[in-house]
C-alpha cells in the first residue's frame, strides 16, 4: 500500500496512483457507463447494422433515422415526456413547500403530539409502495383519477424522508433568529417565509433535485395508474415501446436514449449537489 512509504505524516493525503489502481478504476468506470454508451451507439446506428453478428463498438454508421422513425411512429412520445415533466416538477414543488413547512415545525416548534406524529410519519418510510398500491388503485379508481396526472401527483405531494431531511437541517439553524423576528412582530407565516425559507435554500436545493429524479424515474405506480397510451409517463411509455415494436430495436433504443438525455444533462449541471444528496442518504443506486 502506498501509505507504507515513509511519507511525512502531514502529507498522507499526497496521492500516488499505482498503475494497478488506475486500471481498476478506469475499467470499472467503463463497465459502469457501458450500458448507457451501448444504448446510445445502438440508437444512432440503423437497425440494419445493429442486427449483425459483429456489432460496431462505436457509431461507425451514424444516422438519426431511428429517432425520426420514433417520433413519427410513437406518436405520443412528446406527451409522455410532457407528462413526466409536469408530474416531476409539480411533485417537486409541493415537496419543497410541504416538507419544509413540516420539517420546520417538527424542528423548532413544541406542540402536543409532536413526537408521536413525527415518528408515525417516519415509520411510513418502511412501508413499501407495493403494500399500499392496491387500495391506492381502488381509491384512484373511485375518485376517477386513473389516467390523469393527479393520480401520480396527489399521493406524492409529501414525503417522510423529505420532512426528516428538512427537520435535520432546520434543527441546526439558530433559534434566536426566529425569536428575534417574533419579537419584531413578524407573524408565524412571515417568519417561515422571510426567515426560515431563505436560510433553507441549500437543503431545499438538494431536496428538489432528488425528488425530481425519483419521480422522473418512478415506474411501478404510473405503470398501474396510467393505462391509456396518451397518459403514460416517460418510463412507462419507453417500456411499452418494447411491446409495440417488438423486434424493431432501433425505435426502442432511440426512445430510451431520448428519455435518458434530460436526466443525464441534469446530472452534469448539478453533479455536486447530487453527490451531496447521496451523502445525506437521499438517492439510491
Amino acid at each position: 500500500m502506498a501509505l507504507r512509504l515513509s511519507v511525512p505524516a502531514r502529507k498522507r493525503t499526497r496521492k500516488r496512483l499505482s498503475v494497478g489502481t488506475w486500471i481498476a478504476l478506469v475499467i470499472t468506470a467503463i463497465i459502469s457507463l457501458w450500458p448507457l454508451y451501448w444504448l446510445l451507439v445502438s440508437a444512432v446506428t440503423p437497425t440494419l447494422y445493429t442486427m449483425k453478428s459483429t456489432p460496431d463498438l462505436w457509431p461507425a454508421h451514424f444516422s438519426l433515422i431511428n429517432f425520426q422513425r420514433l417520433l413519427s411512429d410513437a406518436k405520443y412520445y412528446w406527451n409522455w415526456m410532457g407528462n413526466s415533466l409536469v408530474v416531476a416538477l409539480s411533485i417537486t414543488l409541493f415537496h419543497c413547500i410541504f416538507d419544509t413547512l413540516a420539517g420546520y415545525t417538527f424542528a423548532k416548534k413544541k406542540f402536543p403530539g409532536r413526537t408521536i406524529i413525527f415518528w408515525a410519519l417516519i415509520a411510513t418510510m418502511m412501508v413499501p409502495a407495493y403494500v399500499t398500491v392496491i387500495p391506492l388503485y381502488l381509491i384512484s379508481h373511485d375518485l376517477h383519477l386513473l389516467n390523469t396526472l393527479w393520480a401520480i401527483i396527489l399521493p406524492g405531494m409529501a414525503s417522510a424522508f423529505g420532512i426528516f431531511l428538512m427537520r435535520q437541517y432546520i434543527q441546526t439553524l439558530p433559534t434566536e433568529l426566529l425569536d428575534a423576528a417574533r419579537i419584531d412582530g413578524c407573524s408565524e407565516w412571515g417568519i417561515f417565509m422571510r426567515v426560515v425559507l431563505p436560510l433553507c435554500k441549500p437543503a431545499i436545493g438538494a431536496l428538489a433535485i432528488f425528488t425530481f429524479v425519483q419521480h422522473w424515474n418512478d415506474f411501478f405506480w404510473p405503470l398501474i395508474a396510467m393505462t391509456s397510451t396518451s397518459s403514460y409517463t416517460l418510463t412507462v411509455g419507453v417500456a411499452s415501446l418494447q411491446g409495440e415494436f417488438t423486434t424493431d430495436f432501433g425505435i426502442i433504443f432511440a426512445g430510451a436514449t431520448l428519455a435518458a438525455l434530460p436526466m443525464i444533462m441534469f446530472f452534469f449541471i448539478f453533479q455536486r449537489s447530487f453527490l451531496e444528496g447521496v451523502r445525506m442518504g437521499a438517492l439510491k443506486g
Binding site: L36, S53, A102, F249, R279, G285
Partner: protein, 315 residues
C-alpha cells in the same frame, strides 16, 4: 388534541367562559404548528395510512377485483403460497438468492472502489464518482433496455464476446436455468454508486493519526486496513447492507423490462408476483397478503439493523 388540555386537573371546575378562553389560547399557541403540518398529514393520512390499513383488511377478505363481503381469515396468506403451484415460494427463494448475492457483491465492490478512490486527488475522485453515479440517476427502465440488448441471443454483445473466444452462445434471457443468474449478473455489473460515495466519505473521516500510530507500531497496510479502517466504517457498512437488502427485496423494474413476457417461474420475484396477482389477475386479496409478507421481511431487516446499530463505534 384538546383532550390533553381538558384532562388537566381542575379543568372540570372551569366555567364555560374560561374553557373557551383556554381553547382560544390553545389555538393561538399551537394553531400555526398544526396548520403547518396539516398538508403533509393529510397526504399521509389519505395516501399512506388509510391505504395501508385498507390493504391489511383486504388481505383478510375474499377480494377478486371487488370484495364479495366475505372475511376469510388467513386464507389469503395460505393461498399466497399455494396459488399457481406455489410460484410465490419460488419467488421468495429467487428474491433471497438475488439479494444475498447482489448485496454481498455490492458491498465488496463498493468497499474496494472507495478504498481505491481514497488515493485519487479530488479531481479524479469526482470524475470517477460521476461515472459510477450516472447510471444510478438514469431510470432503471432505460438501463434495463440496454441490458436486454446486451443479453440478446442473436445479436447481443455478450454472445459476440463469447464467440470471440470460441464459446457457444448462451440464451441469457430465455433459458430458464440461466435467466435468474443473468438478472443477478446485470446488477453486479452495475457499480453500487451510493455505497462507493458513502464508504468514501466514511473513510475520509477516519483520523490520520490512527494510521500514523499504527505505522509507528509497525502495522503494515493490510493490517491497518483490517484493524483501523474496517472497524471504523462499520456503521456505514451496516447501513448499506440494510438499504441494499431492502432495495433488493423489492426488485421489479428491471425484471419487468428485461423479461416482458416473463420466463415462467424461474425468474419470478416477490414484487413481480404481487404485480401479476394484483394487476394482471386481479386477486387483490392474495396480492395484499403477499405485500404484507414483503413488509414483514423488510421490517425484520430494519429491526436487526436497529439492534446492531445500538452498539456504536468509538474512535
Amino acid at each position: 388534541m384538546s383532550g390533553v388540555l381538558l384532562g388537566s386537573k381542575g379543568a372540570a371546575r372551569r366555567s364555560s367562559g374560561q374553557m373557551k378562553k383556554a381553547r382560544q389560547g390553545f389555538f393561538k399557541k399551537y394553531g400555526w404548528s398544526y396548520l403547518f403540518i396539516l398538508p403533509s398529514i393529510l397526504v399521509f393520512a389519505i395516501f399512506t395510512f388509510a391505504p395501508a390499513i385498507w390493504a391489511l383488511l383486504i388481505s383478510f377478505q375474499h377480494y377478486f377485483f371487488r370484495w364479495n363481503g366475505q372475511w376469510v381469515g388467513f386464507k389469503n396468506y395460505v393461498d399466497a403460497f399455494t396459488f399457481g403451484d406455489g410460484v410465490f415460494g419460488r419467488a421468495i427463494e429467487n428474491t433471497l438468492y438475488y439479494t444475498v448475492i447482489t448485496v454481498t457483491a455490492s458491498i465488496l465492490i463498493a468497499l474496494a472502489l472507495a478504498g481505491l478512490l481514497q488515493r485519487c486527488n479530488k479531481f479524479w475522485r469526482t470524475v470517477f464518482l460521476g461515472a459510477y453515479y450516472l447510471p444510478a440517476v438514469t431510470s432503471a427502465v432505460i438501463v434495463a433496455i440496454s441490458w436486454r440488448w446486451i443479453y440478446n441471443g442473436e445479436f447481443g454483445l455478450f454472445n459476440y464476446l463469447l464467440g470471440l473466444v470460441h464459446l457457444a452462445p448462451v440464451r441469457w434471457l430465455s433459458d430458464p436455468n440461466i435467466v435468474l443468474n443473468s438478472i443477478v449478473l446485470s446488477t453486479i455489473l452495475t457499480v453500487p454508486a451510493t455505497g462507493v460515495v458513502l464508504f468514501n466519505a466514511a473513510m475520509s473521516g477516519v483520523p490520520g493519526e490512527l494510521y500514523e500510530a499504527a505505522r509507528i507500531d509497525g502495522a503494515g497496510g493490510i493490517r491497518q486496513w483490517w484493524s483501523i479502517t474496517l472497524p471504523l466504517i462499520k456503521p456505514t457498512t451496516l447501513y448499506l447492507v440494510v438499504i441494499y437488502t431492502i432495495y433488493s427485496f423489492q426488485v421489479f423494474d428491471k425484471v419487468f423490462v428485461m423479461l416482458p413476457s416473463g420466463v415462467a417461474d424461474s425468474a419470478q420475484f416477490i414484487v413481480t408476483q404481487i404485480y401479476q396477482n394484483g394487476f394482471v389477475s386481479f386477486y387483490f386479496g392474495i396480492a395484499s397478503a403477499q405485500g404484507f409478507i414483503l413488509l414483514l421481511m423488510i421490517a425484520s431487516v430494519a429491526f436487526v439493523q436497529f439492534r446492531v446499530l445500538r452498539t456504536d463505534v468509538e474512535y
